[in-house]
């Protein structure tokens, strides 16, 4: 079974995955979507860490440490960031973190990743503006999105024909104008949210 969800709050995500396991759906892969396989309903505890690795050696060492201490790696890759581990635990209080600062630190790493992503889109936006591929004045005057000379002086059917013909292109130009600023804003919102979770967890909420 496949499901699409988006989480910044690791605790909520863990809760959801544990609920799925109780219903007999165990996480077996995570890319853009969550993939589950049918299992006997069980008392699995799933915990999430957030880390990326520069090389296989570091990643193998990381996975070995978790395996040695009883955590099976069920989803995630070297670059995926989110790493999913499971253990069979009757009490349900097993954790991959033993203190609040380290439990909080995963949110700091997540927020850093979003910040780097947001910043990495800035040169793209600047390049689009400086090469005039998109024009900031479109934003103030959407009429400029239409390139047909004299379009706005036309009247009646002549106007509507030209207007409707060019509207799809104007919408595309408008979309190109908005796309990267919106993307950057979304990522910055994720940075702020992850930072909030970091601070709350640090205090050991």
């Amino acid at each position: 079974m496949r499901k699409f969800r988006f989480y910044i709050d690791f605790e909520k995500e863990e809760k959801w995955l544990n609920k799925m396991a109780k219903q007999g759906w165990e996480l077996c892969g995570k890319s853009f979507i969550y993939e589950f396989r049918k299992v006997e309903p069980n008392n699995t505890t799933i915990k999430i860490d957030y880390r990326t690795f520069e090389n296989n050696r570091d990643y193998e060492d990381y996975l070995a440490l978790f395996k040695d201490s009883g955590w099976e790696h069920i989803a995630g890759s070297k670059y995926s960031g989110t790493q999913y581990f499971k253990t069979v635990d009757e009490n349900g209080d097993a954790d991959i973190f033993s203190d609040a600062p380290s439990k909080a630190a995963r949110y700091r790493r997540l927020s850093n990743m979003y910040l780097i992503t947001a910043i990495s889109y800035l040169p793209v936006l600047i390049a689009l503006i400086t090469t005039k591929a998109i024009d900031v004045s479109w934003f103030l005057n959407p009429k400029l999105l239409y390139y047909t000379p004299g379009l706005w002086e036309r009247t009646g059917a002549d106007f509507w024909k030209g207007f409707l013909f060019e509207t799809p292109f104007a919408v595309m130009r408008g979309f190109a104008l908005m796309f990267f600023p919106l993307l950057i804003l979304f990522y910055l919102a994720f940075v702020i949210k992850a930072e909030k979770h970091y601070k709350a967890n640090l205090k050991g909420k």
Binding site: K47, E60, A64, L65, D68, S69, I96, S98, S102, K103
Partner: protein, 103 residues
């Protein structure tokens, strides 16, 4: 003289440094800490991994060659030993004055 900025060490850092007086990989460090602390301190995998990463950055510990291809092995560095000794002296002093005044 000003006190070393790394003092006082946290309980877990102190035990990790103590455990690494002999080379060990991650899981062995966990077991040693539990043993050294009479079962009082149990570090979870994610927490230990972050602590090791931090101690490597501070150069208190260093990686060593090992036969194990999957698990990295670490040992305390000279700088790590120096800081461990400083923290030991700090606590020893606290114990001495407390013994005089309280007991």
């Amino acid at each position: 003289m000003r006190r070393d900025k790394n003092l006082p060490l946290t309980e877990t850092v102190y035990y990790i440094l103590l455990a690494l007086l002999e080379p060990a990989h991650g899981y062995l460090i966990m077991q040693k800490i539990e043993e050294l602390s009479n079962g009082e301190v149990r570090m979870a995998a994610g927490t230990l991994y972050g602590a090791i990463e931090n101690l490597l950055k501070l150069k208190f510990i260093q990686p060593v060659q090992s036969d194990d291809s999957r698990r990295k092995v670490y040992v305390i560095s000279d700088e790590g030993k120096r800081v461990l000794k400083l923290d030991f002296d700090r606590m020893k002093h606290m114990i001495e004055v407390t013994e005089k005044m309280l007991i």
